[in-house]
């Protein structure tokens, strides 16, 4: 049955490899899929996350911190969403890019949403890589 559905039964016994794929996918968007041989899927997903992140930064969005309290408890939630972008989030934090709020720009709120959704979509891609790794998906 699983063979007919094209599921990866070999990886079922290697959950550590699946976790590694998920972690790699979180750190570098798309890498989890690429490591599993799904190059097209990984490249497209990674490029989409990157495009969303860059658009968000270009629109004047800023990254929230996990301990940010500028908008109450929601800020931490926003920070968690931003965290999903992996190396893009880490790099921006390290280089000080897209960290300053720019309310004077009409599109800054759009930018914030783009950045958060980039992170959330990368979380979804990472979980997809995990599912492929444990054989739940092909």
């Amino acid at each position: 049955m699983e063979e007919r559905r094209g599921l990866n039964t070999d990886a079922k016994s290697k959950p550590s490899k699946a976790w590694l794929s998920a972690l790699a996918g979180w750190l570098i968007p798309g890498l989890g899929h690429v490591g599993q041989g799904k190059v097209y899927r990984g490249a497209l997903g990674g490029a989409t996350v990157l495009a969303l992140f860059l658009c968000g930064a270009a629109l004047g969005g800023h990254l929230y911190g996990l301990r940010d309290t500028s908008e109450g408890l929601l800020s931490s939630l926003f920070g968690f969403c931003d965290l999903g972008s992996g190396i893009l989030w880490l790099g921006s934090k390290a280089l000080g890019l897209a960290l300053r709020e720019q309310p004077q720009l009409a599109t800054s709120e759009y930018g914030n949403i783009f950045l958060m959704v980039a992170g959330l979509l990368n979380f979804i891609l990472s979980m997809d890589a995990y599912d492929i790794g444990v054989g739940r998906k092909s």
Binding site: G45, T48, A51, L52, T107, I113, V117, L121, I124, D128
Partner: protein, 56 residues
């Protein structure tokens, strides 16, 4: 107009990722991406009109 363009950009990028993880097969993915994109735009317009009539 710029807001609409941004909404279209956002919807197309999100639809792409949803299609990658949500469906198998090129044809099914394409159709699903198109459906998600149109749903985003439709819901965006519906909410915009709804909020237009709410005075606060």
């Amino acid at each position: 107009m710029r807001h609409f363009a941004l909404m279209c950009l956002f919807a197309s990028l999100v639809a792409l990722v949803f299609a990658i993880v949500g469906r198998e097969g090129e044809r099914r993915r394409t159709l699903y991406a198109l459906r998600v994109f149109l749903e985003f735009i439709g819901v965006g317009f519906a909410l915009a009109w709804l909020l237009y009539w709410i005075p606060w």
